[in-house]
Amino acid sequence: MRPKSHAFRSAAKDALADETLQDALKLFATGFPEKRRKAVAALPEFEALREAAVLIKDHTLAHLDRYLEQFTDRVEEAGGHVHFCRTAREARETVVAICRKQGARTVTKGKSMVGEEIALNEALEAAGITPIETDLGEYILQLAKEPPSHIIGPALHKTKDQVSDLFLEHHTPLGFDERQEEGEALVAEARQILREKYFAADVGITGANFLVAEGGSAVIVTNEGNGDLTMTCPNTHIVITSIEKMVPTLADMTVLMRLLARSATGQTMSVYTTLVSGPKRKDDLDGPENFHVVLLDGGRSALLGTEQQDLLRCIKCGACMNHCPVYGAVGGHAYGWVYPGPIGAALNPALIGLKESRHLPEASTFCGACEAVCPVKIPLPMIFRHWRNQAFEKNITPFFIRMTLKLWAFLALRPRLYRRFAAFAAWGLKKSPPPFVKGWTDARDFPKPEGRSFHAQWQKRGGS
């Protein structure tokens, strides 16, 4: 997906004015947080599991080479293949090459954020291969030609009405020419259409939620069962995923699994959690003959050994965006790249560069809700602050903001001057609202300064 994060400001403005989107977001704000709260309350061990998850991820990242190696050995012993890709381009080319080798014409796809990250569908289409999204949300978006707006519910910005229109438009040529308005009927129609695709596809591509080194296993979690049909029916299964999904053992994976669904949707478990370890065995009655794991670095290794390494603990549960007031106001598309919400604001600068994404770490009220709900305790606000500093140091912050900040720093280091300036500013603000902040005052009232300054009062009461 080509990043559009530089346009965050205008995209956010459009999102706020988009009534259909605002309706969809309203629904959203009341759903997930309450479900998560209940699920967490029902598991007294939740906090202890979070602590364990942090230990597990930190350990794994510190020994990532070792676990990548163990994982690869296991997959190869089972008859599968692991492909190492430093860049999105390498990953795209690898997947296309495997599909070509199979003579693939259609591939079914489970939901994969890494797939979005490397713009896999476009690459497949360019190679003359038809990708078919099978997750209902992703399928809707493929028809609408839109990117996902949420990492768990990719089409949550779409209303039922819009889905009805899309299905009517795209399914009429397939013989479904009645506009369905009930959710149940829409789901049934998609089920019927996708059913034959699973069995006709030459290759199935899925993501992975976790990789387990000791088992050589990819763990795939869905509620719909589309991931399992995608990986089991075709002759070839490709897992496209990234290096930080690794955990050492099945016991370690269990800790993360117990946190994932509760944090994401408030379920105790998603309906389907599948550990797949290699291709079909000799006497098996089903399963793919070929099994490939395509492992993407894509800028992640640059975070290893830095202060921002904690980002690689992320299990992509979506809780941070579900609880984020900024995401709740503008939705996911405004962020302009695959990962929206707080995790996107913290991670995207590392993956697509700060120049493209400098607005994202600014899109925070610093309320801290994201860090409070994150199952792996990523200090997201601290990372926003890091990127803001970086943007300033690297001269990415625009001239006007830099100058204002510099002026403030100049004054703040000179107390007498500062006091005089503050008194002047307070006098001015009593007369009229401050200049240059219309964007802010349009939506809120700027409080008028009252009485004497804190500083003056402090001195009067005998402070020093």
Binding site: F84, Q267, Y272, G305
Partner: protein, 208 residues
């Protein structure tokens, strides 16, 4: 096109070389939910309650003799044909009324009979290990899945499952299934039967 394994790993090694390297104890004694450790009766009761919470239906029979009758009765309530594809693992049971084929499921099969390796009380989850007698698609292709599980296969938590697997020789697929297929992708409303089975019926049998 890809980076070769040694170069890739060397790059990672290089990145992490100057970090402290926290070690983890083996075996890992991570906190596990209290509800994952119960007596046999508690496990069975929790398994049943949690399965229902996931919208599976469940029927508790005293023994395996009455399974076929229960399967047929259940299919009649759904107006489904008395015809099913079944796990070869179930060959040993008596099937006379029901038309059963022992194979994996294909595109047109409506009903499957499956045999989970275990039931997990903690979350009301069925655990399937793929193999020649337990094909995977029985759990995904049909619209109606009937899983036949005996009481003494109900374990407390996921730890009990790992104890029974050798990580160096995993089955091709381990499937954990908690209720029938569903989606929340349209306006966050839940609809059953997205791609996998719309109905998951568990027949739990006693010891005899």
């Amino acid at each position: 096109m890809t980076t070769d394994r040694q170069t890739f790993l060397a790059h990672i090694r290089n990145r992490i070389s100057h970090r402290e390297k926290p070690e983890l104890a083996t075996p890992r004694n991570w906190p596990s939910p209290a509800v994952a450790k119960g007596s046999r009766e508690e496990r069975i009761a929790r398994f049943i309650a949690q399965s229902k919470a996931h919208k599976a239906t469940i029927e508790h029979l005293a023994d395996r003799q009455s399974v076929e009758g229960a399967v047929c009765d259940y299919l009649r309530t759904l107006n489904a044909p008395l015809q099913a594809v079944a796990a070869p693992a179930l060959k040993g049971m008596d099937w006379t009324t029901l038309d059963v084929a022992f194979c994996t499921a294909g595109e047109g099969d409506r009903v499957s009979l499956s045999e989970p390796a275990f039931g997990i009380a903690e979350t009301g989850t069925l655990a399937f290990f793929s193999g020649p007698k337990t094909p995977v698609l029985l759990n995904f292709a049909p619209e109606i899945e009937i899983a036949i599980l005996s009481e003494d296969r109900i374990v407390g938590g996921y730890e009990d499952i790992w104890q029974r697997l050798n990580p160096a020789h995993m089955p091709r697929a381990v499937n954990f299934i908690s209720g029938p297929s569903r989606t929340g992708d349209i306006e966050q409303t839940m609809y059953l039967g997205a791609h996998g089975p719309k109905h998951l019926h568990i027949i739990l049998t006693g010891d005899q």
